[in-house]
Amino acid sequence: MAHDLGFWVLQALNALQLSMLLFLLSIGLTVIFGLMHFVNLAHGSLYAMGAYVAASLAAVGGYWMGFFLAPVAVAGVGVLLYSGLIRRMRRAGPMAQVLVTFGLIFALLDLTRIIWGDLALAIDVPASLSGRLTLLGIEYPVYRLFIIALGVAIFATLAFVLGRTQIGAMIRAGVDNDCMAACLGINVERLFFIVFCVGCGLAGLSGAVAAPLLSVTPDMGLQILIPTLIVIVIGGLGSLRGAIAGSLIYGFVQTFGAVLAPQLASVLIYALLAAVLVIKPVGLFPAKG
């Protein structure tokens, strides 16, 4: 196939943009799992909630209000969930957790339908980020570049916090061995709470960021859930490196698969996941060696 450079750059940018969106979602989920051994299937519903809150706020106070307040609102929902449900389910087995959060998906799905209705909402790209930029001979929407930049910025921040600060060291210690961390005087329970809320906030943020690209519908959380789970299982649960690697693999395989081998594209990523699980059952970069 003869494709010029512009084609490859364009697709690479598309892949990067998808990867960064997934990274924002999966990092929260993966650290929550790594630290708490808690499987939160309702993470996708929080993302949908972020998109809805952002859309509502954008209608009132413009895009940036939604962008900044939606993560806060979703983190607030996270606080409610943690104190009402998650804390009690911490010691239950993975199946009970999967089922409780599956029930939560049902409940949150209908709650968003009750509050915002069944119709898709749309939200406009802010004026400062609309338009296109010429890059290596191709034109690319500024907003998508903004998503890539945001993903990179969040990755850098998290890498710094997790790798270079005391609270990061505490989180890593908790992921590695929570009993031992607790023995060393770390308040693991409070750490869990903070990480859970930050993870929910990031889910809300990715919802707010994705809202102008996709239409905001009640089932958007269900649609994104499977890709997110694939990302964290390929990457390995609990690690930042795994989340970014998994996101990049998913984004590139999905995007290039769709343009180069359209018939195989949808099966390709699942086959890849199955292969990873067979060869390395705990993913490529698990937090625990």
Binding site: F102, G103, L109, D110, V233, L237
Partner: protein
């Protein structure tokens, strides 16, 4: 190992009586609901065998059911094979696919097993959704029901079809009990309780897991062929992971690892769904809250809860009986 207690026999008899009563007296709508319950019951029975007795919590059973439905449809319409043979072929195919999935996933446990089966289920879904011979999003129609006019039955009548499903469900239940009581089923439960010990005893663990998973897949495939004949139309929606999730919900609502419980769960789930969607369009909310409540209550579903209470009373009565017998012996000795 699976055992029938008095309570389990009584519940089975009650369910059977209820189903027969409904099948003989209900109108068209009631029969449709009954058939829906029977088909769902077959699917959750398949899931309970692997999840309840082997700890293999599968999220691909919906997809296996879909494979059965699609295979039956393709074989009986496009390929022009006689429906009974098509049914057998569909069951064999879903069993074979389930065996392969079980063999591949036998090494993973817990959440990784759930994710791996989810991946295989989604793979089947995307393939069916994309491939042109499966009709894509539009699905396939023109499915004919089994022709049993030789023995004087007309399955196009909903009452006969419901009874036909009931007979098949009974056969499947018997097969499930036989599987669980066989050497294979006992080894399977042993693997759930202590995989290392079973390996030390010389068991090929992955074979046992794959074999039971394959048998369970055959049951799911049979449920799929019935679902296709019931609605006479199939779409990729049959294979989505939420179908598997709902099946898991039914197993949990009923009582995991009791075999009888999931049947109760299936009946409760379908009736609840129809009752609630009659009142409000938001029946997912109610089901979600009930599910959260059941799991948080830490009891093993509806039937598990009943069994626990009944079992406690039975134990007490037995203890009382033995105590009074002891006293009698003491007096005779004196």
């Amino acid at each position: 190992m699976f055992r029938h207690t008095t309570l389990r026999y009584a519940t089975l008899a009650l369910l059977l009586a209820g189903a027969l009563f409904q099948a003989l007296t209900a109108g068209y709508f009631g029969l449709e609901i009954l058939t829906e319950i029977l088909i769902l019951a077959m699917l959750v029975l398949a899931l309970d065998i692997v999840a309840g007795f082997g700890g293999m919590v599968s999220l691909c059973h919906g997809a296996l059911m879909g494979v059965g439905a699609y295979a039956f449809t393709i074989l009986s319409t496009s390929a022009g094979i006689a429906p009974p043979i098509a049914m057998g072929g569909a069951v064999a195919l879903s069993g074979a696919i389930a065996w392969i999935i079980g063999a591949i996933c036998s090494r993973s446990h817990g959440i990784y097993f759930i994710m791996a089966t989810l991946a295989f289920g989604q793979m089947a879904y995307s393939y069916v959704f994309e491939a042109p011979i499966f009709g894509g999003d539009d699905g396939l129609s023109g499915i004919r029901r089994l022709d049993l006019s030789l023995i004087g039955l007309n399955l196009n009548d909903s009452r006969t079809f419901a009874l036909f499903c009931l007979v098949l469900l009974g056969a499947v239940y018997g097969a499930a009990v036989l599987i669980l009581r066989s050497g294979l089923g006992r080894s399977f439960s042993g693997v759930m309780h202590n995989e290392q010990r079973m390996r030390a005893l010389g068991l090929t663990v992955w074979r046992v897991k794959a074999d039971v998973f394959g048998l369970s897949g055959m049951i799911a495939g049979l449920a799929g062929t019935l679902a296709a004949q019931h609605i006479m139309y199939i779409s990729p929606g049959l294979l989505t992971w939420t179908v598997s999730g709902e099946a898991l919900v039914v197993v949990i609502l009923g009582g995991l690892g009791t075999l009888v419980g999931p049947l109760v769960g299936a009946a409760a789930f379908v009736v609840l769904k129809h009752e609630i969607s009659g009142i409000t369009p938001y029946w997912h909310l109610a089901v979600g809250l009930i599910l959260i409540g059941v799991v948080m209550s830490r009891s093993n579903g509806i039937f598990g809860w009943i069994e626990k209470r009944w079992g406690a009373r039975l134990d007490r009565r037995l203890a009382d009986a033995t105590r009074s017998q002891d006293q009698k012996e003491v007096t005779t000795d004196a």
